[in-house]
Symmetry: C2
Subunit: 357 residues, 2 copies
């Protein structure tokens, strides 16, 4: 009677990329996130600074406060689940995360705001523990929590607690660090073991145990950055590879700077415990979130001295040069595999691990 196909009742294992609705992947830091920003937010907001898409906005206040007065301004909301995980909780994650976003412009973070969205019924004892660790984390990072806001939403219209932290830092005179500044010939440094935060959160969420407990690497990176700037101000790009991991950060840099980036898989510091967990979970460590690591892209001439200094720092002990910036394949990231081949390391469409930060 009819040849037409009806899709009612079908399920689709693939992302519907042209979905009319928000899907989890829009928050994953991958291609869907990028498309949402590019096609929806940027046209609506229409701002040149926003268009640079750095971890923070570099704001020039020289017309008000005089020569080279620049501040870095950043915001991040935290929706991690569960609230507590090995090595941290949503509170210190929210402090460290925004401290790091500011530090990635070379700025010294000074002030944070905190915005809480609480679900009716949340235990005050839990909220108290989170707030306590935020205070401790702020003092450890040398930043001040100076302004805040609290909203409450009805039960089942939130999820215990969401935290927004925004932050302000001061960019030292003469420092210019941005995702657009990678240049062919530069080398790529990562500041240590990758994949710990994502695996730590995933393990408690799934109730998994991997012999040893894998802890989140959540930590404030501003002191490490200050140490690096003490060695050389000739740093082109800094980025903390959080959502989407090292792979997504390198892709963002490659696109923003219109360069190619290649790295050697075997040079990536992946702890055996993370490697084992990733194999078990079917994850690729280069896409797994970090919360206490940075990627630095610097001229080859300063790389060895910088690496030396980073390895002296408690948050950079296992720093390594993992690759280089090339002028071929602009916008693309490739990995040299242990079998001698080369593979394209693309951005993921959505995310491997929802609600990781």
């Amino acid at each position: 009677m009819t040849d037409s196909i009806t899709f009612d009742g079908w399920t689709c294992p693939l992302f519907l990329r042209d979905t009319p609705n928000i899907v989890m992947g829009h928050g994953g830091g991958g291609t869907l996130s990028a498309e949402l920003i590019e096609n929806l937010f940027l046209p609506a907001f229409a701002d040149d600074t926003l268009n640079t898409l750095g971890d923070s906005a570099a704001l020039d206040l020289s017309h008000i406060f005089g020569a080279d007065a620049r501040i870095a301004f950043s915001t991040d909301s935290y929706v991690v689940k569960p609230l507590f995980f090995p090595g941290g909780n949503i509170g210190d994650l929210a402090v460290n995360g925004t401290v790091n976003d500011i530090a990635m412009s070379g700025a010294q973070p000074l002030y944070l705001s905190t915005g809480f969205i609480l679900e009716e019924g949340l235990s005050l004892e839990v909220l108290g523990r989170i707030a306590e660790t935020m205070g401790v984390a702020a003092r450890k990072a040398g930043v001040r929590l100076v302004t805040g806001d609290t909203k409450v939403v009805d039960k089942n219209h939130g999820d215990a607690v969401f935290i927004n932290t925004s932050g302000i830092g001061v960019i030292p005179a003469g420092i210019n660090i941005a995702p657009t500044l990678a240049r062919p010939g530069d080398v790529v440094i990562v500041s240590g073991d990758i994949g710990q935060h994502g695996v730590a959160v995933m393990s408690v969420r799934e109730g998994l145990e991997f012999g040893t407990v894998i802890e989140s690497d959540s930590a404030p990176l501003n002191n490490l950055v200050a140490t690096m700037l003490g060695v050389t101000t000739d740093i082109h790009v800094l980025r903390d590879p959080t959502r989407g991991g090292v792979a997504s950060s390198l892709n963002e840099i490659a696109k923003a700077s219109r360069v190619g980036i290649s790295f050697v898989e075997s040079k990536l510091p992946v702890p055996p415990s993370v490697r084992a967990a990733c194999e078990f979970l079917g994850l690729d460590p280069v896409y797994v979130a970090n919360e206490g690591k940075l990627i630095a892209i610097v001229p080859r001439g300063v790389a060895e001295e910088l690496l030396e200094a980073m390895r002296q720092h408690s948050l950079g002990l296992n720093s390594a040069i993992i690759g280089e910036v090339t002028d071929d394949r602009p916008g693309m990231v490739v990995a040299k595999t242990s079998l001698g081949g080369t593979r394209v390391v693309d951005m993921q469409l959505g995310e491997q691990l929802p609600r990781i930060c």
Copy 2:
């Protein structure tokens, strides 16, 4: 057999003030909000600037940028329900609200951040309309949306969209405006008709109609403040009476400045439509939220000239002197009623209208 009382199955019409859990009132801007901040957040965060509890934090950067370099920094999360209401939506509310918090320190707002927490399944068309109005509102207020973040939470773990906006402004040299600076003898000015935002949101939420549509007064107040500062820099306090309305703002000022405040009920500009709606809903207009009004506390000598200038401004047409600051009853707000009596206008414990902003 037993005389003991068991509370199982009882329901309590009163707030449990010593509740171990978050209740809606903790987000209402009343006494419960104040207690949460004072007893939980302030001890955990331990910061002198936070302790001043202004709408924004005034940050002194003179040690970095030189003499009188000061910025105002503020944050607010918006969870208003429904997302769209007469006179606005969550997007322009989020822009105007943070613009106003910054303006209440006398600062000129310059930059905003936007943090979105989206619920899986939200229509992109709805998100697009919200983002569009944010862009329009920002341009109207003369501020730039320079940095942002987007997170997605699983269906039924959020509520369509929550927005955090944080903002930065520059405080002009010589301006000192803070909730602690009200002095006996000062007069209290309100910039126009009160109660519109709260009633507008409530009417659509409850599906009520009051003959005429009451629209939210959501608007950016920075230009009005600049106009006022053009008349005199001798302004002691500015406050936008949002959650908890005029009554809560006056109570906060009375407590922060350790003064009494008295106002005359009949001097308060309450439009007839708002008055009728409040009677119907059982609300007191002095506790109903506003999003485009300010309270100014100024020396008597500058009040008339200031009032004149405010009434010339489109956002201050119906400005009025409503009361004065006294040295008796410090920390207390009293209203002179139309019957010639006096009543204490206390802070509310929770809130009349949940999720109003």
